[in-house]
């Protein structure tokens, strides 16, 4: 039976798009483009609501619990932290108070909660390093274990995170990936044994000049990135089913749940939840806070100890209990059925993803960092998550539509899809004038124009008839 338990929770708010799509004036400045694309008023409204019902009470609860000995790992998207910095700096202070606690480990998260890794893996590596710098700047702790977006993991993602220098990474423990393996052990995907024939490279990575822009990891680590697999069933008991009155185990109490954990076979249980589980997905009157407050004592009674992911990695890797896990080429995720079907399963999602790629490509062509930043915001996974319901029904579609802003529904299903696409199309046209070749031609033309037309002065069309003109001087 397991001896240890690690709890991970991730705090995130999307940067929602402005729907219906706001038309963007040709040649608009970068702040104006942002203004037209993102609905900051709506974002602020949702942020404040979630802060009131979840972020403040849940953070205070966890603060109380970790001070009593519970261990917690927590991830923050920079998308959320930017919102908190802008609209509620006191919340950042509260988060900081929590993170600095010895029993709390900060976990890296893909900074904008984007699918950048599907568009540009090398840039993803750089951004994950930047994210670690940012979290260190904000919280004074540097993450060594990371999540991605929606807990995605694949061969390429693993190698990118390894290159980015993370000691550990989180993934969902899905059967189609784990097969016969248990989700209660530490895993790795790196090559442990030497190859029979040495690989010949044109230049040695060892001892080469370190550059912040180099993709190769500063490999002072003896081992590749370790993998912690989330316990799907036990996580979803709390994350999804806790307030479901139709669930056969409703209502769930801490002692029952602690029993389930304690009777799970393996080395440890790793649980992962949205932070918004506490007070937002499950309201305070569901009993979720009371449940969580009671859980540590119940686990203690059953001999289950709290750990952080880093401590699990340290303990189980040293004792030789880290096992090889063949990762899939196609990413796994904690959303839906555990594969990218949840994000790319319908035509509307695939069209948006295609547009994400086009916007990103166009932004790269501009070589303008602000445009690239905009394109990565637009690659936010939430923009696919929010339309999973299109053409579907069932529990997953219900989850997806729950996250779709209420303000959008008056547009109707087709209207939402159309307007969302229009946002990307508008963004494409807005980025276009920033292409270097166009900028150069514009500058030349402006220089070349000798006389400019006065603003607001109309030009009369050619009358097309015979007439004489008399001019008053």
């Amino acid at each position: 039976m397991v001896a240890d338990l690690a709890i991970y929770t991730v705090v995130h708010q999307p940067r929602r798009l402005k729907l219906p799509a706001q038309p963007i004036p040709r040649g608009a400045s970068i702040p104006e483009i942002y203004h037209c694309i993102f609905d900051e008023r709506m974002n602020e409204r949702y942020f404040r609501k979630v802060a009131q019902y979840c972020y403040y009470p849940a953070t205070r609860m966890f603060l109380d619990l970790v001070r009593k000995g519970m261990r917690l790992s927590i991830g923050f998207s920079l998308s959320l932290l930017h919102q908190a910095e802008k609209w509620d700096p006191a919340l950042i202070e509260l988060f900081r108070e929590l993170v600095v606690e010895e029993n709390v480990e900060i976990i890296g998260v893909e900074p904008y909660h984007s699918f950048l890794f599907l568009l540009d893996l090398p840039t993803f590596v750089m951004r994950m390093r930047w994210m670690a710098d940012e979290l260190e700047r904000i919280f004074g702790k540097r993450p060594t274990v990371t999540d991605t977006t929606e807990m995605c993991m694949s061969v390429t993602l693993y190698d990118a995170l390894d290159a980015a220098g993370f000691n550990g990474a989180l993934m969902d423990g899905r059967d189609w990936v784990l097969e016969w393996r248990e989700r209660t052990h530490l895993y790795t995907y790196s090559d442990e044994n030497p190859y029979p024939v040495d690989i010949q490279t044109s230049r040695s990575l060892v001892g080469s000049r370190q550059s912040s822009k180099r993709l190769a990891a500063k490999s002072d680590r003896e081992h590749g990135t370790y993998l912690l697999t989330r316990h799907l069933a036990l996580s979803d008991d709390v994350g999804y089913r806790f307030s479901d009155r139709n669930w056969s185990n409703y209502p769930l109490f801490a002692d029952t749940y602690a029993d389930w954990i304690a009777h799970t076979g393996g080395d440890f249980v790793f649980l992962g939840w949205d932070f918004e589980t506490f007070g937002e997905h499950h309201r305070v009157d569901s009993g979720i806070f009371d449940f969580m407050r009671a859980l540590p004592e119940e686990l203690d009674k059953r001999g289950v100890a709290f750990q952080t992911p880093s401590r699990l990695i340290e303990d189980y890797s040293k004792s030789g209990c880290a096992y090889h896990l063949p990762l899939p080429i196609y990413a796994t995720t904690w959303a839906g059925q555990g594969n990218m079907e949840f994000f790319l399963g319908n035509d509307a999602q695939r069209t948006i993803f295609q547009l994400m790629g086009q916007v990103y490509g166009m932004a790269k062509l501009t070589e303008n960092p602000d445009m690239l930043d905009l394109a990565i915001w637009l690659a936010q996974s939430d923009n696919l998550h929010l339309i999973q319901w299109f053409g579907r029904s069932g529990p997953e579609a219900e989850v997806s539509s729950y996250f779709t802003p209420d303000e959008w529904w008056p547009l109707g299903s087709n209207g939402i899809i159309h307007e969302q696409q229009q946002v990307y199309i508008n963004a494409l046209y807005a980025i276009e004038p920033y292409l270097p070749a166009r900028l150069i031609r514009q500058a030349r033309r402006k220089k070349g124009i000798k006389t400019t037309r006065r603003k607001g002065e109309w030009t009369a069309p050619d009358a097309g008839y015979v007439a004489r003109h008399i001019h008053l001087t």
Binding site: P23, A28, T459, A463, G464, Y465, I470
Partner: protein
């Protein structure tokens, strides 16, 4: 003592007018700009604090106070307008989105909230389809913040443009819909709404007598040495609704019936202008373009006098006409052809009446026009109708004088002060209906 409780007054009420058009040259495309500029000014002169939120010139101050601070011009969407320099409707969709999205919060935060704190009632009036959505959103927002009952919301329709883009049910629920004539009221019945009629107005200055010497001089110029020559004037956008073709045909028929005519035309930049003038040319009418740079009355007369070409049928005035020249022309002309096939109100005809001119109107929104009493009302698009009526007038000069006098009396009833009185009486009714306590 007259009971004042429940009365709208500058002490307890302020106005917010929402319109795409406004007083800037950039913001004026037609009669709507004139209407809101004059209405807002008239309200401010009466002492009402009046905010006019409009798509203003991007290079003018975002806020400007006039009329001793009573009139506050708020130039909206300037950040969009700077990308669209060709007037108020250039970049229309971009401006509309910005207007709809930002104006309601501004109204709530900057106008209604402080006004409510002072115990005042806010009258919010939107003009035309561009403001239909923003009125709905403003109402929703005020409702959300619990102050909807402190505002009277009116939405006024001046034209039939883009009515398919209006959510009539929603608009009718959140505002009191008004329009400018009974004709418009009847047209709007088709949309399931029954608007109140609050007519357009004219400013008092339009009743200032015109300079008789200038009138005489202009008449002489137009007659081109032939006292028998009829002098006609037509001004407006080159829009088929204005029945330019009918006017040109009438001129040609008069000419070929042995009644020479001088027609002054002042149109806009619309492409229909090319059709009109080509048609006139094909009818054998001689056309003279006249161009000038923002002249005053004297300069206008000067340039007209020095056209130098005899027997011109149509003078195409391709320059900005100062108001005093327009009014002089209304008075000097034998008739001004305001013979529109569709006219929500027909402000031009009322201005002609105010200048003691003779207006030939259509028979749609011109509620004030009674044929051969204060105007000539055409009821068909047959050019012979104009020809017949003008020849009748020519045979009865005494009727001309009577119509001119009656026209002026009619115009006096449509001064903005009178219209505001009408508006205020309706607001008091609406306040009572909404249970708004006017302090």
């Amino acid at each position: 003592m007259i009971e004042q409780e429940g009365a709208i007054s500058p002490e307890n009420t302020l106005f917010v007018l929402l319109c795409f058009e406004g007083p800037d040259v950039y913001s004026t495309a037609g009669g709507l700009g004139t209407r809101v500029s004059e209405l807002s000014e008239a309200l401010a002169v009466q002492g009402y604090t009046t905010h006019l939120i409009f798509i203003g010139d991007p290079y003018k101050p975002s806020t400007e106070k006039r009329v001793d601070g009573h009139l506050i011009l708020e130039r909206w969407s300037q950040w969009v307008s700077k990308y669209y320099l060709n007037g108020v409707y250039d970049g229309e969709e971009q401006k509309l989105y910005d207007f709809n999205g930002s104006v309601p919060y501004h109204i709530y935060n900057e106008i209604v909230r402080p006004a409510v704190a002072q115990g005042k009632t806010v009258v919010i009036m939107g003009e035309d389809w561009h403001t239909a959505e923003v009125m709905c959103r403003t109402s929703d927002l005020l409702n959300w913040f619990g102050v909807r009952q402190k505002a009277i919301m009116l939405w006024n329709l001046n034209s039939l443009m883009s009515l398919h883009r209006i959510n009539w049910g929603r608009l009718n629920y959140v505002t009191t819909i008004t329009t400018v004539s009974k004709y418009m009221k009847h047209r709007m019945w088709g949309y399931g709404v029954n608007p109140l009629v609050i007519p357009n107005g004219i400013p008092t200055r339009h009743l200032t007598p015109v300079d008789t010497a200038a009138v005489t001089r202009l008449r002489e110029i137009a007659q081109q040495g032939d006292p028998r020559r009829l002098f006609l004037f037509k001004i407006g956008r080159f829009d088929p609704d204005k029945r330019w073709m009918m006017a040109v045909e009438a001129v040609a028929r008069l000419k070929y019936s042995g009644y020479p005519v001088t027609l002054f035309v002042r149109g806009g930049i619309e492409p229909h202008g090319t059709d009109v003038l080509r048609h006139a040319y094909n009818l054998g009418l001689t056309i003279q373009d006249v161009v000038a740079k923002r002249p005053n009355l004297e300069q206008c007369l000067e340039v007209m006098q020095h056209t130098g070409s005899p027997n011109i049928d149509i003078y195409n005035l391709r320059f900005f006409l100062p108001e005093e020249f327009v009014r002089t022309t209304y008075n000097a002309a034998d008739a001004t052809l305001a013979n529109s096939g569709h006219e929500p109100f027909g402000l031009v005809a009322l201005e002609v009446m105010a200048a003691e001119g003779i207006a030939v109107t259509g028979s749609t929104g011109e509620d004030y026009a009674i044929s051969f009493e204060n105007a000539i009302v055409t009821e068909t698009d047959d050019p012979d109708e104009i020809v017949g009526y003008l020849l009748h007038l020519r045979r009865h000069p005494e009727e001309q004088e009577r119509i001119r006098c009656a026209g002026r009396s009619t115009a006096e009833q449509f001064l903005w002060d009178q219209v505001i009185e009408n508006l205020v009486s309706k607001l008091e009714f609406l306040a009572r209906k909404q249970d708004i306590q006017l302090s």
